[in-house]
Every structure is written in C-alpha cells, then in structure tokens.
C-alpha cells in the first residue's frame, strides 16, 4: 500500500525567494488558480521523496499571522485546516530571508505557535555570506526547536536537506512555542494585546538572535551600496526610472507588434484553409467568422501579456518593482490610488488586458480594484486606428484661426489626456464614496537589489499567458460567436435584394438631383458602377445582410439614444458591433457602407472608407452624416467607452465576480455618452 501524500505549505514574507524555492522543490506548478470565492492566488506543486508523494502549497507572502488582508486571512485559514478543499498541512516550511533574519523570524516564530511541525529554510544564504552576515545555524535550530537549513538557489545548496527534513518532520510533534513572556512583556502594558505581543515578540527575537548572528565588514557589499546610491538618487534615480518605464512600455507597444502580426497572419491562413474545406454557408461562416475570429482575437493578446509579465517578473526579481511604486506613490495618492498602480496603468496604454492582469502585483485589495476599474480608460493601441482614420478624414490639418497649430496632433493628444483626466476623476470619486473606508496601511518593504532568477521570470510569463488563454480565451471565443450570430441572422435573401435595389435607386436619385460637390458626385457614380461588378454587388449584399441582422436592427432601435451625439443609426450599429473590440468599428463601418471586409492596416482600404464616410448623407436628406463635431463625438465616445469584451472578461476573471465588469461597462458607457454629447454640442455651438 502506498502511504497517503503529505501536504506541506510554504510560508514566508513577500520577496524572500519563496517562488524560487517552490520551483527548486516541485518544478512547474501543477495548478495555479484562486481559492474558492476569493481572488487570492492558489499555487500547488508536487514532488516525490524517498517514495512518498508530497503536495506543496505556496501561500501568498505575508508579514504576520494576525490577518489584516484577504491574502493573510487565507494563509491563516490554510494553516489551521479551515480552507475548503485544502487538507490540514502536515508540515509548515517557513521561508526566511537570511539577509533579513530579525524581521523574518517574526512570522517564523508565529508559525511555531500553530501547533504543526515546522522546518525553516534560510533562503538567500549566499547573499548573506557576501554581505558578511554569519549565522550559527545549529544554534539557531536548537533555540527555535525546529530544523533550520541554509538554502542558496544558484548552487542548489540545501534543497536535498529541505526535502529530508520536511519528510522527517511531517506528521511528527510540533515544536515548542517561543516564550515571549517575561520582563519584556511588561513593556506592552496599557496597549492592545496584539500590539503588546508584537513588542514582546521582537524583544524575544532579539534575545534569541544574541550570539547566533554577527555581521562582519562586508566584502561584496560596497558595490551594492553604490548601486543603491545611484538608483535612489533624486536625479539619476528618477532618470533611470523613466528609462526603465519607457523601455517596458516600448516593448509591449512595439516589440509585441511583429509577434501579433505573425499570430494574425497564421490565423488568417488557418481561416482561409478552413474556409477552403467547407462549402459556402452557415457552418463555414460560423467557424471562420465566429469561432476562428474569436480564437484569433484572444491569442493575439498573448505577446503583450507575456512581455509585460516578463518585465514585471524581472523588476520584481531585482527588487525594483517596489522601488517604482515608492517613486510614483505621491502622484497616484492624489487620485486615491497608490504607487503600485503605476505599472498596470502605464501598461494599459498599450492594452488594458495585460495592465489589468499586472494589477495582481498590488497586494492591497481596494487599490487593486480601483486600478482595475480605471485601467480601461487609458487610451489603448486598439483606439489608435479609430482616432487616426477620423482625424485624417475630418479634422483639418490647420485651423484658420490658429494656423501654426498642428490640429490633428492636438486632437490626438487631447484624446489621450481625456482618458487620464477622466481616470483620475473616477478614481478620486470612487475612493471618496463606495471605496471609502479606514485608512489602509502603506507599509512597503524595499527589497535589496539582487539578480532575478531566469526560471522564475519565465515561469511568471508562461503562467500569465496560459491563465489568460485558459480562463479568458474560452469566454472571448463564446462572445465572438454570439456577436457573429447577431450580425448574421436573420438572413432574408428577398430583403437583401430589396435593400440593394433601394440603394441603387437612392444613389441614382441623388446623382440626378445634383447639389453634391464634384468629389462626392464622383464617389456616388463610382458606387453605382461598383454595383454592376460582382465584387461590388457582393459587398453591397453583405452590407444589406448586416443592416437587416439583429445587430443592424439594434442600430435602428438605439438611434434615438445616439441621435443627440450627432450619429445616425449606421454609426450606432457600428458602435454596438464593436463590442468584441474597438478596432472592429472600422471593419463594421466598411461593411455597413457596402465596402465589404476591409483591412484597417491597408491604406487604400482606409482612404476608400474615408471617401464613403464623407459622401454619406442622412437618410432622405442632403445633409452629410459626418462632419467635425460628429467625428469628435465618435472619437470621444471610443476614448471613454468599454467596447472591448476581452477587457470585461479579464476584469471578471481577475476580480472573481460579475459585478465589476458590469459596473465598468455601465460607468464607462455613461461617461462616453456624456463626453460625446458634450463635445458634439460644443462643436456645433462653436460652428466647427
């Protein structure tokens, strides 16, 4: 009979090499997810030692077993065997940073009081040696009453010993508790019991460490001091910070692009291959335009997610992540956020999805949620094609009043600034209202500089990309299929014929009536002639089919709502159809305006779309649909709206709740409508 597997938990402060030890003991985790009902990460691994299977649980980093945050509550619940689906541990493996023993022993000595066998691993022992920190491990072990093992990850020192000791200790007797009473306890008189205990515990640790630890003049410490002096310098430190952040942003904005292009072209080939296998019809359309489009739409995020997490893991591994939060804290506190929100928000300018996922590095629950809620307001790269097309078509290059002003650049910068300002206002008002609460401690360790472990860094990136595909990817595909169905059905051939015939006669009537500019007239004649070509007719039929679909009807249905924004039902329809992703709006406009599927990256296709939009008229009138106020109204709407199903899905996954994606969608859509309305009215009033 094989003995039942043992459960061992890894307990330690944040940034003490817990993940490195986990990887050294168990390799790649067998499961990464959330504990039921809470957004606290659960990481499980497994290894065998001397014929016994050991299940390893990596607990979130914590400073104390008197829980103050949901993460810490999970830690305490798991240790006491109170967490559903998690067996009571057989042994606690405490991970303590040898370079910072005094504070690390605070948690370690609390663990001794749980009543479970304890083994202490002194991580970063090689760095402690270099810093001249000498620890008498045997004496420490004797005084703590539990095994203490030196661990150094570069050499693998101590890993075998940790396995031995964990196996020997598991299920055995618990060590005695550290005595923290005595004369020292009297210093806590008049304080709350928890505070008195903290003071007494540190006094006990100081006594425990007397004679166990001594620090010799550092040999390698000089270089570290020098690095520290530069990186925390007011000027050099700030310049270094800007350089690091710029390169991080550039890599997710530009480095990811070729990778995303490769993914897109591979997916295009897969789509045309599948399309070639099947006869034209509903099945082919479902597979190609629904399922495969959804797969492409989710896989395309992987390069950005992987690159950002690579960067975050490197910064975290060196100890710079906390430094970045320290540098930016003051700016963000003014809006009710914290310094840790900076990297997630910066990344959101490339794409909100990796940005929202990067909010995992914010331990404070309230700050994390606030950051996630405002991250989609940052103008992501998907908005850029929309801005560029509408700016190019409808914003004049120079204003007549201020001829020196590069007007298009001003509008573009204004749209980016709008997102930032609105995000700051939303964060500020949410933090003063529904997120109002007792002050949250901002007590953040600034870890000492060290080299990141490549294995840990790669694992973070792999894990982030994989969890996105697994959790969000499937839902994104499902949403893509639903939108496909809404855009395809009902499909009525006779209605399509009638629509195309009506289109031709209305175009002919408009040409006959005259009154259009030469450019528009040429465009209209071109449109009529294209209806005689097979390609042009197919595009017009496709437009008619979409106009007659549930989604097209929804566009007409919402027309009263979008009318105050200066939009006709076609724009409303395109806005609704862009729910899967904002950039889809250009493709949808192309279809609605009878251009068929167009590639937004193709300059010829976008100029064709520009010409169509310029020639568009309100139904039954000669009034142009698109002018500067309407274009601005559309751009402001897209700057602020939540038309990105993938973002909402990721918010749902990251907050483990359906409430927050709904809140995000509603508040952003309302703000987008109000913003679009305001700019349209201002534009009209000023006669733009």
């Amino acid at each position: 009979m094989t003995p039942s597997p043992l459960t061992v938990v890894l307990l330690g402060n944040p940034n003490v090499g817990k993940s490195t030890l986990f990887t050294a003991l168990a390799g790649i985790p067998t499961r990464v997810g959330n504990y039921p009902g809470v957004t606290v990460e659960e990481k499980l691994g497994r290894f065998s030692h001397r014929g016994r299977q050991i299940n390893l649980i990596d607990l979130p980093g914590t400073y104390s077993l008197l829980p103050q945050s949901p993460d810490e509550r999970v830690v305490v619940d798991v240790l006491h065997g109170r967490m559903a689906d998690v067996p009571r541990p057989d042994c606690i493996l405490v991970v303590a940073d040898a370079t910072n023993l005094e504070r690390n022993l605070y948690l370690a000595t609390q663990a001794l009081g749980i009543g479970l066998p304890v083994v202490v691993a002194l991580t970063l022992s090689d760095i402690a040696d270099r810093k001249g920190i000498r620890i008498n491990v045997d004496e420490l072990s004797r005084r703590l009453g539990c095994p203490v093992i030196r661990v150094a990850s570069p050499t693998g020192e101590g890993i075998a010993a940790v396995r031995d000791h964990v196996l020997d200790a598991a299920g055995g007797p618990a060590p005695r508790q550290l005595v923290i009473e005595g004369t020292a306890a009297s210093r806590g008189v008049g304080r709350p019991p928890a505070a008195a205990e903290a003071i007494a515990r540190y006094d006990a640790i100081e006594r425990l460490l007397a004679g166990v630890i001594r620090t010799e003049p550092a040999r390698g410490g000089i270089a570290e001091e020098r690095i520290d002096a530069i990186l925390t310098h007011r000027l050099w430190g700030t310049l270094f910070f800007v350089a690091v952040m710029l390169s991080m942003f550039a890599s997710i904005f530009w480095l990811a692009t070729p990778l995303m292009d490769v993914i897109s072209s591979v997916m295009d080939r897969v789509s045309s291959f599948v399309a070639g296998l099947l006869p034209e019809g509903a099945v082919r359309s479902l597979l190609v335009d629904g399922v495969l489009a959804g797969v492409a739409g989710s896989v395309v995020f992987v390069p950005q997610i992987a690159l950002l997490f690579l960067f975050v893991a490197i910064l975290e591994g060196c100890g710079y992540l906390a430094r970045a939060a320290y540098l930016m804290d003051r700016l963000l506190v003014a809006t009710g956020l914290s310094g840790k929100s900076f990297i997630p928000l910066l990344s959101s300018f490339a794409c909100a999805i990796p940005g929202i996922m990067a909010a995992r590095t914010i331990e404070n629950r309230r700050d994390r949620l606030l950051t996630i809620l405002v991250a989609p307001l940052m103008s992501c790269s998907a908005r850029l094609p929309v801005y560029l097309l509408l700016c190019g078509a409808f914003v004049p290059e120079r204003s007549t009043a201020l001829p020196w002003l590069p007007l298009r650049a001003v509008v573009l910068a204004g749209l980016y600034a709008l997102g930032i300002v609105v995000a700051a206002l939303v964060a500020l008002s949410l933090s003063r209202t529904i997120f109002r609460g007792p002050p949250q401690p901002f007590v953040m360790e600034l870890p000492s500089w060290r080299w990141p472990r490549p294995a840990v860094v790669l694992e973070r990136a792999r894990e982030a990309a994989w969890s996105f595909l697994q959790n969000a990817g499937t839902l994104i595909v499902a949403i893509s299929v639903v939108i496909w169905a809404l855009m395809t059905y009902p499909h009525d051939e006779r209605a399509i014929d009638a629509d195309v015939a009506a289109l031709r006669s209305s175009l002919e009537a408009r040409v006959a009536a005259g009154g259009d500019s030469d450019a528009d007239r040429a465009e209209l004649i071109g449109q009529i002639e294209s209806l005689d070509t097979a390609e042009g007719l197919a595009a017009a039929r496709r437009g008619a089919a979409q106009r007659g679909s549930f989604l097209g009807r929804a566009g007409r249905f919402v027309e009263p709502v979008v009318r105050p924004l200066g939009w006709d039902w076609r724009i409303g329809c395109a806005a609704i159809a862009s729910f899967p992703a904002r950039e889809v709006v250009l493709g949808t406009l192309g279809v609605i305006y009878n251009l068929g599927d167009l590639d937004p990256g193709d300059a010829g296709a976008t100029t064709a779309l520009e010409r169509r939009l310029k020639a568009a008229r309100w139904d039954g009138t000669n009034r142009p649909v698109f002018n500067l106020p309407v274009a601005l109204s559309i751009m402001v709407f897209f700057a602020l709206c939540a038309q990105c199903a993938s973002t909402l899905v990721v918010i749902g996954r990251e907050t483990a709740s359906w409430v927050w994606p709904i809140v995000t969608f509603v508040y952003m859509t309302v703000l987008a409508w109000l913003g679009a309305f305001a700019i349209y009215r201002i534009g009209l009033a000023l006669g733009w």
Partner: protein, 77 residues
C-alpha cells in the same frame, strides 16, 4: 533636536523609536514590521515628491507614507 515624530527628521539621521501611537491596524502593522519602542531607525531618503519615506530598520529597508510616519514618536524612551 526637537523633532517629535519621524515625518520631520532630516534625511540621513538615525533616531530611536519612542512609541507608535494609535491602536488600529496601521499602528499594529508598523509594530509588526519591527518599529517597536527602542529600535534604531535611519531615514535613508524621501521619494522625489517628498512622500513616502525610506527607512532602514532592523537591517532592512522599509517605505512608509508621511501620514504613517507621523504616528512614530521618536526620541529617548
């Protein structure tokens, strides 16, 4: 020196904690991080915007906001 709490000592000085005022979770966390009465702390620096502060305590670096630093009374015990 007349500084009473940690938020108004000059950068580079080492002081002793006299007390951490308040009985809420914030004060408890400061104690748990090692800012107990009698311990020596050095103000290493301030963030470019003047807040938060960087401290050295019990051999490691800790960052706290001025608002929290104001709870840390310094001077002789």
């Amino acid at each position: 020196m007349v500084a009473e709490s940690l938020d108004d000592v000059p950068v580079g000085t080492t002081v002793r904690v006299r007390d951490v005022t308040g009985a809420d979770p914030v004060s408890l966390r400061l104690l748990e991080m090692g800012l107990t009465p009698g311990v020596a702390i050095r103000l290493v620096g301030k963030s470019p915007f003047g807040d938060p502060l960087e401290l050295e305590v019990r051999g490691y670096r800790l960052s706290i906001r001025r608002q929290e630093a104001a709870r840390v009374a310094i001077g002789d015990r």
